[in-house]
């Protein structure tokens, strides 16, 4: 388990949770925006989507082998008149992305559903089953940065989304300037253009949410 790489959105979800206290390091909105962009990123990596500036194109309508991305793809096909990237990130951030990712992680046994009964009703949250799991995506990137190694596309997108959501203030806090520069350099030069646009839109969406006081 420790060496396998999870889907991009799952990695982002785990990286966004504090391993010792099993709470989310991001606001629900920011997490939603990040996961929404991550799911779209997965579709790009599955070669189902192309992204150019703010425009999405479905290049292959076949479902993927994976329920969450298939669900998003299906939605995309159903709403063919909506093709703005920002609209889709915003839509997925309304809870859709988080729910899809939590379900996938639960199916893989990586998170479990916890119910807490309080005075004001029952609160449901998803808690990682193995605390050491939450640290792995970040560790993987940090190791690559320290060793000066190259990251593959999914991990590059993950790095970009970590930066876009502000998660880097936790995940990359131990990196030195030189190591951080190594990551930025890879993002600039090796991240394919469609995924660069996607990460850019995620960053813009997070910033716009801050400005509109909905972050």
């Amino acid at each position: 388990m420790a060496t396998s790489q999870l889907p991009l959105a799952d990695d982002l979800y785990l990286a966004a949770h504090d391993s010792s206290r099993a709470r989310c390091l991001l606001t629900p909105t920011t997490l939603g925006l990040g996961l929404g962009a991550a799911l779209l990123g997965e579709l790009v990596l599955w070669r189902r989507l192309e992204v150019q500036d703010n425009h999405l194109t479905v290049v292959d309508e076949r479902p993927t082998a994976d329920p969450p991305t298939s669900a998003v793809l299906e939605q995309l096909l159903r709403e063919s008149h909506h093709r703005q990237v920002r609209d889709w990130i915003s839509f997925l951030a309304t809870g859709v992305a988080t729910e899809l990712v939590e379900r996938r992680l639960a199916r893989a046994g990586l998170v479990r559903r916890e119910e807490k009964r309080g005075l004001l009703g029952t609160k449901v949250r998803f808690v990682p089953t193995d605390p050491s799991l939450t640290g792995w995506p970040g560790t993987r990137i940090r190791i690559a940065a320290t060793r000066g190694e190259l990251l593959d596309s999914p991990d590059l997108v993950l790095t970009g989304l970590v930066l876009a959501t502000g998660l880097d203030q936790h995940v990359f806090v131990t990196l030195e300037a030189r190591e951080r520069d190594h990551l930025f350099d890879q993002l600039r030069r090796r991240l394919p253009a469609p995924l660069q646009y996607l990460v850019g839109h995620a960053e813009a969406a997070v910033g716009d949410a801050v400005m509109a006081r909905r972050a």
Binding site: L25, L26, T27, T29, T30, D53, P63, P67, S70, A71, E74, Q75, R78, E79, H81, H82, D87, W88, S90, F91, T94, V96, G160, L163, T165, G166, L167, D168, Q169, H170, F172, A177, R178, R180, D181, F184, L187, R188, Q196, Y197, V199, G200, H201, E203, A204, V206, G207, D208, A209, V210, M211, A212, R213, R214, A215
Partner: protein, 500 residues
């Protein structure tokens, strides 16, 4: 994956996004909490009476409301078409030019910071005697100011929104209190319905500019309604409606309350304001209302000042955040606190400035009520007035180049009329600074205030021109929010310094 068996008529995407959005009431609420009604009525009006000796404040509120309503027509129309709608500098950058846009950004930072610092002075000056009366706690004004500062500093990084339920309830209580006290004024023994507060000729006489600036300070915050352009239920209707409703409510509330106060003072409004200060608002109504109402009133006055502190802090933090993510200010300002979504360094920087100002005033022994609260508010009010005037001109410029499907009234008619009115008001304001600050003509504030804003504007223009040469991508992105073509990713032209 199963697919739905019934055909989906409405777009699920549109519905989901729409469900999440705000209506008119939410936006009006937000704007009014930024305007802090009780702070204006109990704080600005009596202090203004004492400092300027002018009583025609009610007609000034109504006149300014009309001017701002006309301004809002073009302003709200343009907000639909630009990113970063909550910041004047974006309008100026798009409609006049990027260099003046940056100039506008610096002016805005000074103006809004002045308002924020002013509320520390007001809070300290009001809390000190109150806490002494209630609890026998004897602290100098700056002790309370620092307590308020600490509260705002903590809430700022936690991004406590002013339209949260608690503060929303306080706002409603504030408004109710103002109405109740004003009505109580009508029944005081000395009440003599005065025509002085609503005398239109005072708007053309000496001191007109001072009255208008005082009135403008009461409305500051209304311009934030457009922040919700993209988050509102019906973009074409929600924001304009909310803006006009807020402006009208504010105007009527303040005008009525000020008139009631001045009438209840039986012709001695200015003298009593000089002697009693903000207590005038409470003393006038105390005849009819019990001590409970008075205590409640004082408590709400303090919470109103805190709400103003938080409001302006959030506005400034977001201005700074916006400038940071565009690269006009160091990108570090474009960072958030991950757990709360607060603009991290923007909030911390504003808190640092606020601390410095409080300490300077404390050490220099300057008066918190007149020299920090009133002067600070006036300085801010003049700045915002300048920004609104230039923004009004920018609206004309923007629509001249991009008609954007708006009709002639929104594109030209209202903006031209609004700009003309605003130019008159600005001229009157700048020539009345001596009256506003209660100083002799030619004294320091009369030239220091215009000079400060002029220097900031030129500094902004200069900085923009430097950016044009050294960082053209950033220059092109000025005022564009995150929609600029080249500036989609902050790590394109960033170093590790920015991501700390």
């Amino acid at each position: 994956m199963s697919s739905t068996s019934t055909p989906v008529r409405e777009s699920q995407l549109s519905t989901a996004l729409a469900r999440d959005r705000l209506g008119v009431a939410a936006v009006v609420f937000f704007v009014m909490s930024a305007a802090a009604p009780l702070t204006v009525v109990a704080g600005v009006v009596p202090t203004g009476l004492a400092v300027t000796g002018l009583t025609a404040i009610s007609i000034a509120f109504l006149a300014v409301a009309v001017v701002l309503a006309v301004f809002s027509v073009g302003y709200v129309a343009m907000s639909r078409h630009i990113a970063n709608a909550g910041a004047f500098y974006a309008y100026i950058a798009r409609g006049v030019g990027r260099p003046f846009g940056v100039g506008g950004a610096w002016v805005a930072l000074l103006a809004y910071n002045s308002f924020q610092f002013a509320s520390y002075g007001g809070f300290g000056a009001i809390a000190a005697p109150q806490f002494a009366a209630w609890f026998g706690v004897e602290l100098p004004w700056w002790g309370f100011a620092l307590a308020g500062w600490a509260l705002v500093a903590v809430l700022g990084v936690r991004d406590v929104a002013v339209n949260g339920k608690v503060l929303g309830t306080l706002l409603v209580a504030e408004i109710v209190l103002v109405v109740v006290f004003s009505v109580a004024d009508l029944f005081t023994p000395d009440f003599a319905a005065s025509s002085a507060p609503v005398n239109p000729s005072s708007l053309v006489g000496a001191g007109a500019g001072a009255l208008l600036v005082m009135a403008v300070t009461g409305f500051v915050g209304f311009e934030q309604s457009v922040v919700f352009s993209e988050e509102s239920r019906d973009p074409r209707r929600t924001v304009p409606r909310a803006t006009y409703i807020a402006v009208a409510l504010i105007a009527v509330l303040y005008a009525f309350s000020a008139w009631a106060m001045i009438s209840a003072a039986g012709g001695k409004a200015v003298e009593r304001a000089g002697a009693e200060g903000p207590e005038l608002f409470f003393n006038l109504a105390s005849d009819r209302l019990g001590s409970t109402a008075l205590h409640l009133g004082h408590a709400l006055f303090l919470t109103s000042l805190i709400a103003a502190m938080i409001s302006f802090h959030n506005i400034i933090a977001r201005y700074t955040f916006s400038l940071g993510r565009e690269g006009v200010l160091p990108r570090a300002f474009g960072r958030t606190v991950p757990a709360t979504g607060a603009p991290k360094n923007g909030s911390l920087a504003q808190s640092a400035l606020g601390l410095i100002v409080i300490l300077v005033y404390a050490l220099a022994g300057w008066d918190p009520l007149v020299q920090l609260f009133f002067w600070g508010g006036t300085l801010g009010g003049i700045g915002v007035l300048l920004l609104i005037t230039v923004t009004s001109a920018a609206v004309i410029g923007y629509f001249a180049r991009n008609p954007s499907g708006e009709d002639a009234w929104h594109r030209i008619g209202a903006p031209v009329l609004g700009t003309a009115l605003l130019l008159v008001v600005t001229y009157l304001a700048l020539t009345n600074i001596a009256i506003l600050f209660g100083v002799e003509p030619g004294a320091t504030p009369t030239w220091a205030v215009p000079l400060a804003y002029a220097v900031l504007t030129l500094a902004g223009v200069g900085w923009a021109l430097i950016l044009r040469r050294s960082r053209p991508l950033v220059y092109n992105g000025i005022g564009m929010g995150a929609r600029s073509a080249g500036a989609g990713l902050s790590f394109r032209d960033v170093t590790s310094e920015a991501h700390k």
